[in-house]
């Protein structure tokens, strides 16, 4: 049922030509540059993406290289950015729009749910909407108010819209290429806390990775742990510590948040009998709920105990003096995985 059989990836990438040791954000820049270079329909737009190269520098150098038409600063209006991207996409362009922070993505919701996700269906394929809406998200970088939220589940509930979140330089490169090339709209959320957390050798070969599938980061038969984005780091730390005690987990990076590759998750739960979901977003109606629901529906008889979630709390993301108390920590994750083994 999965689109690709070969979805088991380690944090390391294969060797090859044009290899560069890059961070996650560098990999995003590389992917955009590749696509700008190879597809004249692609344009990059957003606030401060031009001369300034983006407030996080994701588009650094692109305007210099591809010109002010292909890499455009826009006026300051997110609903407008989404709306003109839809207009362009419907008329044959492939816009990659940047929203500066996920906290400012909400003015796009109307355009994304009412138009981007519906254009193909409502015109029976006459007009389509091949656009990418990029936004950095998540907490843990001591940012100001409204700069640290994780609300991917709002978009995951929208039919016709894919939601993709990379968690390593390799996947950032491959998944962004896939998102740009996908003939339908993709909300591409970037875990900004790990923009520069580590480097990987990424081959700049224009090869996309498959969407709609999970990536298995660790294999083990004791507990299945599903996570995505920056939380893969906490999760891997927790799992690696537990490995030293002999506890072995499957760690699944969801990668495409919607639609969910539940086959991979169910296969793993079949093996382990235990499921822990880790995400940074508030718990209620987070994407973790959907994963739990699917497994409680289709994998119930494989479960040896309750499904557990380690998530942000159902509160407003605290300002930064307390933000780490909001976030799922390595300690919280370890405890919950261990609890799950006691069932």
């Amino acid at each position: 049922m999965r689109n690709s059989a070969n979805t088991r990836f380690d944090m390391a990438a294969p060797m090859g030509a044009h290899m560069a040791e890059v961070t996650l954000i560098d990999a995003l820049t590389m992917a955009m540059a590749w696509e700008l270079e190879h597809d004249p329909r692609v344009i990059v737009l957003g606030e401060d993406v031009g001369v300034n190269g983006g407030v996080f520098r994701a588009t650094a150098g692109l305007q210099q290289k591809f010109g002010v038409d292909r890499v455009q600063d826009t006026p300051l209006a997110e609903g407008m950015i989404a709306g003109i991207s839809i207009g362009m996409a419907a008329q044959g362009m492939r816009p990659i729009a940047e929203i500066q922070f996920m906290g400012f993505i909400y003015p796009t919701v109307d355009q994304i749910i009412n138009h981007a996700g519906r254009m193909r269906n409502r015109t029976r394929g006459r007009l389509t909407c091949p656009m990418v809406l990029r936004a950095p998200f998540g907490g843990g970088i001591h940012a100001p108010e409204h700069h640290s939220e994780s609300t991917e589940s709002l978009f995951a509930h929208m039919p016709g819209v894919r939601v993709v979140i990379p968690s390593s330089p390799t996947r950032a490169y491959g998944l962004l290429l896939a998102a740009i090339r996908d003939p339908d709209p993709v909300v591409f959320l970037e875990p900004k806390r790990i923009y520069r957390l580590n480097k990987q050798d990424v081959e700049d070969n224009g090869k996309a990775l498959p969407l709609d599938v999970c990536y298995v980061l660790r294999e083990g038969s004791d507990v299945t742990v599903v996570t995505w984005g920056a939380m893969t780091f906490e999760t891997l730390k927790a799992v690696d510590q537990l490995a030293r005690k002999g506890i072995r987990c499957d760690v699944i990076d969801l990668a495409t948040i919607s639609p969910i590759d539940y086959e991979t998750i169910l296969e793993s739960v079949q093996k382990t009998g235990r499921l822990v979901i880790v995400h940074e977003a508030a718990r209620t109606c987070g994407v973790g709920a959907e994963i739990a629901a699917i497994v409680a529906e289709k994998g119930m008889y494989d479960l040896q105990g309750p499904i557990r979630r380690v998530t942000g709390y159902d509160v407003v993301m605290p300002l930064f003096r307390r933000e780490m108390d909001y976030m799922p920590s390595v300690g919280k994750i370890i405890d919950v995985i261990q609890e799950s083994l006691e069932d």
């Binding site: 049922m1 999965r2 689109n3 344009i43 038409d69 292909r70 455009q72 826009t74 006026p75 209006a77 609903g79 407008m80 989404a82 709306g83 003109i84 991207s85 839809i86 207009g87 362009m88 996409a89 419907a90 008329q91 044959g92 362009m93 816009p95 109307d110 355009q111 009412n114 138009h115 193909r120 269906n121 409502r122 015109t123 029976r124 394929g125 006459r126 007009l127 389509t128 039919p159 016709g160 996908d182 003939p183 339908d184 969407l211 709609d212 639609p259 969910i260 590759d261 539940y262 086959e263």
Partner: protein, 362 residues
């Protein structure tokens, strides 16, 4: 204090409500072929509209938004466009759509609850009807940006109502169009009412045309019941845009002679006298009179046109009523280019439970 900027809003009308030239008429006003063509479209639109309301009343169509009284504005806009320009309408601009080549049967299908109504055989790049108010202004701006980027000699036009000028999206679209000098025309069809809210409660501005000032683009108000004025100014606006002079806003002042939709009862909120007064200045009367005065129209021709229009409409209705329901799986099959296998189970579930009953449109 120093005056650092000033602005004027102009008003244009060429034909008085009585059909007499009220200003120096443009070339268009003597181009009988164009005039007759537009009049035919306006008439067909009205016959279509009347029929659609009847279909709704007899349970054969869903809620329907009438265009009665807007025929000059709608046809005038589309008549000024080239085929490869792109229209982003709102939800009642059938005159414009018919003029662009959308079929009556397609429009009926849409209001009859069938997505295929938006899969025009006709203008393949036009945006479909747009219900979320003013969102389409941004699509037009985006389309214009695509044309600009590709160096194409094409323009986009969006149409929204007076009520739509209160939505932020309308201003955002004008602003980016001004800032990026986009080849787009923003049409506001001011029919004085947004459902039950009169224009005076919608905004404090004297005109809607002046909203262009906020975007640094030209704005003009035209008599929206005068098809010559509408077409003339839209043509000029498109010309400007094609010349690289950027966007502008045109307010076409008209009146909604019908209820807002078939689900509305406008007698609740507006006076009969106001509607009656508006009826005397409606757009068909004056162009018909003008054509008659030009000696190219008479009662016989009128009767023939009405017959033809009725036949056309009837044929469209037949086609519509005989279109079977879309397949049940069609609600899945157009969601994605690359079908996520994950959803196949839902698709099968829907097919298993799919209703096969008749083809009710009502």
């Amino acid at each position: 204090m120093e005056t650092i900027a000033d602005f004027e809003v102009q008003y244009s009308q060429f034909l008085s409500p009585e059909g007499k030239p009220s200003a120096d008429i443009p070339a268009l006003a003597t181009d009988t072929e164009k005039l007759l063509d537009m009049y035919r479209l306006m008439t067909e639109t009205r016959v279509f509209d009347t029929k659609a309301i009847n279909l709704q009343r007899t349970g054969k169509l869903g809620t329907y938004a009438s265009c009665l009284g807007h025929e000059a504005a709608h046809v005038g806009i589309a008549a000024a466009m080239r085929p490869d320009d792109v229209l982003a309408p709102s939800y009642r601009e059938y005159g414009a759509m018919l003029c662009r080549g959308v079929t009556m049967a397609e429009i009926l299908l849409y209001w009859g609850g069938d997505e295929r109504g938006s899969d025009y055989a006709g203008p393949r790049n036009d945006f479909p009807l747009c219900v979320p108010i003013a969102t389409q202004c941004l699509h037009a701006a985006g389309a214009a940006m695509a044309f600009q980027l590709r160096g194409e000699d094409r323009c986009a036009i969006s149409i929204n109502g007076d009520g739509g000028t209160s939505e932020g999206a309308f201003y955002e679209a004008m602003n980016v169009a001004g800032a990026r000098n986009l080849p787009v025309v923003f049409m506001v069809v001011n029919n004085k009412w947004a459902i039950s809210v009169p224009i005076e409660m919608q905004t404090a501005t004297k005109t809607l045309a002046q909203k262009a000032v906020a975007a640094g683009i030209p704005g003009i108000q035209v008599d929206g019941n005068d098809i010559i004025a509408v077409r003339h100014w839209v043509e000029r606006a498109l010309q400007r845009a094609r010349n690289g002079e950027g966007a502008c806003l045109i307010e076409a002042v008209t009146y909604r002679l019908s209820d807002h939709t078939t689900a509305d009862d406008s007698s609740r909120y507006r006076k009969k006298e106001e509607v009656e007064a508006a009826r005397t200045v409606e757009p068909l009367i004056r162009i018909r009179q003008y054509l008659t005065d030009l000696g190219i129209w008479d009662e016989q021709k009128e009767a023939a046109l009405l017959d033809e229009a009725a036949a056309k409409v009837d044929a469209a209705v037949e086609q519509y009523l005989h279109t079977p329901k879309p397949d049940i799986e069609s609600m899945f099959d157009h969601m994605y280019a690359q079908w996520p296998e994950q959803l196949e189970e839902q698709r099968q579930h829907a097919i298993r439970y799919g209703s096969t009953d008749g083809g009710s449109h009502g």
